[in-house]
């Protein structure tokens, strides 16, 4: 059944073979890494532009507006124009700031979001580095991002920035627990940390359908907690523009600000990609048991379409949150995590373990 889906690894394997015949293995590795890096960078820029445009259009629909419609057809070039504007602005460093940390923080934040792209499978065989501890790698690397935010808040020498950074630190450290536990519930059922194994285990049904109520609960917790982890409204404590004017990036301007901005959108993409991979079957097509003809048609849709479709659906949900909910207060945010989400995820993890042991899933 799966043979029908085009496997991108045939292309990469053939390319690798062709390259190996021409030069030494070190050089091959170097060239392949460069190409992968360029692809990641390209995707990065492309996603940044697409997501900013999407956010503006989604918010416009919710706010009975039209949104960007002047630059380019339907305003599609608006994001590019904004980027050019940010590039041309002066990269100001305030006098009282810690120069090194201030300039290093945005770079660190963006490096972290680039690193997490590695184990995500964009299609069948289309993955940069399918390492065998994918889920662990993701949760480990994603926690480095908060250091960048703390660094930015501290180095700015601004009280608003400092408060924003401290809030963000408390928030990300707390919500990581819930994200981790909800990821673990899928890992328990799959029995593997490798992203490709997790996707393959959903060949005959996505975990959200196969995993009964416990997986649905962990999916909901994942969506809430990952919204909080990416500092998105209604959990945008770190920015909270009506309270802290701009939070940790109050003092940033120009391209340094753009890096934080871009990292935020890439982080949204990444958490949604992880959610889509673990709970919604990654690049696996939608199948209904028994309907062979329907399943065959679904298989003909290329796997990247499935992956990006699911991811963008989740991104839409997260944007929907942002434009309809008010912001929580910082103590309510921590109460929500420590008093509700964390205990629920703990019990839920036990339930999933029980399910896995007894084989109570399809």
């Amino acid at each position: 059944m799966l043979l029908k889906i085009f496997d991108f690894s045939t292309i990469t394997a053939a390319f690798h073979l062709w390259l190996s015949g021409k030069m030494s293995s070190v050089l091959v590795m170097l060239i392949e890494m460069t190409i992968a890096g360029m692809c990641a960078l390209g995707l990065f820029v492309f996603l940044g532009l697409v997501l900013v445009y999407m956010e503006r259009k989604v918010s416009a629909v919710m706010q009975i507006r039209i949104g960007p419609n002047r630059v380019g057809p339907w305003g599609t070039i608006q994001a590019v124009a904004d980027t050019v504007k940010l590039l041309l602005k002066e990269g100001l460093t305030p006098d009282g700031a810690d120069k090194f940390l201030f300039n290093f923080a945005p770079i660190l934040v963006i490096i972290v979001s680039m690193l997490i792209l590695a184990p995500i499978g964009f299609g069948k065989g289309l993955v940069i580095w399918d390492l065998n501890i994918g889920v662990l790698y993701i949760s480990a690397v994603s926690s480095i991002g908060v250091i960048g935010i703390l660094m930015a808040g501290w180095a700015s020498n601004n009280k608003y920035s400092l408060i924003g950074a401290m809030r963000s630190g408390a928030q990300i450290v707390s919500y990581e627990l819930s994200v981790g536990l909800s990821l673990i519930s899928v890992v328990i059922l799959t029995g593997s940390l490798q992203m490709s194994d997790i996707v393959n285990s959903q060949a005959n049904g996505w975990w959200i359908f196969k995993g009964h109520i416990p997986i649905i609960i962990s999916f909901i917790i994942f969506v809430i907690a990952s919204t909080a982890e990416t500092n998105r409204a209604p959990f945008d404590m770190a920015e909270a523009e009506s309270e802290l004017t701009g939070g940790f990036h109050t003092e940033y301007a120009g391209m340094k600000f753009a890096m934080f901005f871009l990292a935020e959108y890439i982080n949204i993409f990444i958490v949604c990609a992880i959610g889509a991979t673990l709970f919604l079957g990654g690049w696996m097509p939608f199948h209904i048991g028994g309907l062979t003809a329907f399943n065959d048609i679904m298989d003909y849709i290329p796997s990247p379409f499935w992956f990006f479709g699911k991811t963008f659906f989740l991104i839409f949900v997260i944007m929907w949150f942002r434009w309809t909910f008010p912001r929580l207060r910082v103590d309510q945010l921590l109460t929500l995590e420590w008093k509700y989400l964390l205990p629920i995820s703990m019990v839920n993890t036990l339930l999933v373990t029980l399910m896995a042991i007894m084989g109570w899933y399809f």
Binding site: S59, Q63, I163, D236, S242, T324, F325, P326, L328, R329
Partner: protein, 371 residues
């Protein structure tokens, strides 16, 4: 005042909120002393938009000074004008035609609706929800258009003059107001869906910024802020003017005393304003829209005071006349100033985010506080 020269202690951080800050809605400067996220002291500083309007009024004639009051509480511009016109009429002892009275009330209630709509949108904005702002402006735009047709201005109307109103109603007025009422009634449920019933919103405002009935009275709070604490202070009921005594409407009094109470009080006031407009819109009396007054008004020697209910609370105009063409002294009693004085009482012990919620629910208009 101890914050004036305060130095940062071991645990305390002093933050200057404003004069440029997204949630002060103007140039209000608040000195905030925080311990972590908890507010330990707060002190509002005024003076950034002081234009000495009261002094300016002394050099203007009784017709002219009314226009400066549009620039105080610019969201209740018409009600301010109305108060000044009423005070001058008290001195002149002219009888305002019934038509002018009805028009004034209609405009005042439309102004109140527009002001509350803007407040509702800004409340959402302050609490982190951007979308309500646009929904509020959708309906507010219709009111502004009605104002523009009749008064020629959208915000600073300058429509009330001593003796009545400046011009007759636009022929489309009745039709436009009816269309607006139908539209707004149909859309009102969206307001509730977006904010009122939202669990995050309720968590953010319930029990926040509590002020008891006694404290509300002693701070001089008026308007929805006081009425949410159970103080009966609606001037339209207590000291009716321009024919409010002939209209049926309820004074919204709630007992919560917190931000949620103030929110619900304003939401209910919008419904009452619509009810008042509905009663009047088909019964605007025919006749003159202005009583005959002299071109250059001279008030007799004496003191004249008029209080009205603006969207924010009690607004008072106190005129001292020496018998000349310009007032000897004018004093305005603005609702925002008294309401702001209760800020410290409401927020100390709360979180930084509570300050924003409380300020949103006080519905501060800075030029009204700082004249």
């Amino acid at each position: 005042m101890e914050l004036e020269n305060a130095t940062e202690g071991q645990d305390d951080l002093i933050i200057n909120v404003g004069p440029q800050h997204p949630s002060t809605h103007g140039v209000l400067h608040i000195k905030l002393k925080v311990n972590g996220e908890t507010i330990t002291d707060v002190e509002p500083h005024l003076g950034y938009i002081h234009r000495s309007i009261e002094k300016m009024c002394e050099s203007h004639t009784y017709r002219q000074f009314i226009y400066t009051t549009s620039r105080m509480d610019y969201l209740s511009a018409h009600i301010n004008n109305q108060a000044c016109a009423l005070a001058v009429e008290k001195g002149l002892q002219v009888e305002v035609p019934a038509r002018a009275k009805a028009i004034r009330i209609l405009m005042a209630e439309l102004t109140r609706l527009a002001s509350h709509q803007l407040w509702w949108g800004c409340t959402g904005l302050d609490l982190g929800a951007v979308t309500p702002f646009f929904h509020a402006f959708r309906e507010r735009e219709m009111i502004n258009d009605i104002m523009e047709k009749t008064c020629g201005a959208r915000l600073t109307m300058n429509y009330a003059v001593p003796g009545g109103v400046m011009a007759d109603l636009h022929p489309d007025f009745v039709k436009d107001v009816k269309a607006f009422l139908a539209e707004f009634k149909g859309k009102f449920h969206e307001y509730d869906e977006l904010l009122t019933g939202n669990i995050i919103f309720e968590e953010r405002v319930k029990g926040i910024g509590y002020i008891s009935k006694e404290d509300a009275i002693s701070f001089g709070c008026t308007g929805p802020v006081a009425r949410a604490s159970g103080v009966s202070c609606d001037i339209r009921k207590l000291h009716p003017y321009d024919g409010y005594e002939n209209l049926q409407f309820e004074e919204i009094i709630r007992t919560e005393g917190d931000c949620y109470g103030r929110y619900l009080a304003r939401m209910d006031e919008m419904k009452q304003s619509m009810y008042i407009i509905e009663q009047l819109i088909d019964n605007i009396p025919e006749g003159d829209y202005q009583a005959k007054t002299k071109a250059l008004i001279k008030l007799p020697k004496g003191e004249f005071y008029q209080r009205v209910e603006t969207a924010r609370g009690e607004f008072g105009v106190y005129i001292v006349s020496e018998g000349a063409t310009t007032p000897y002294r004018i004093k305005f009693r603005s609702p925002g100033f008294s309401n702001l004085s209760a800020l410290k009482h409401m927020v100390v012990g709360g979180k930084i985010a509570d300050l924003v919620a409380v300020m949103a629910m006080l519905d501060l208009v800075i030029p009204d506080i700082d004249r």
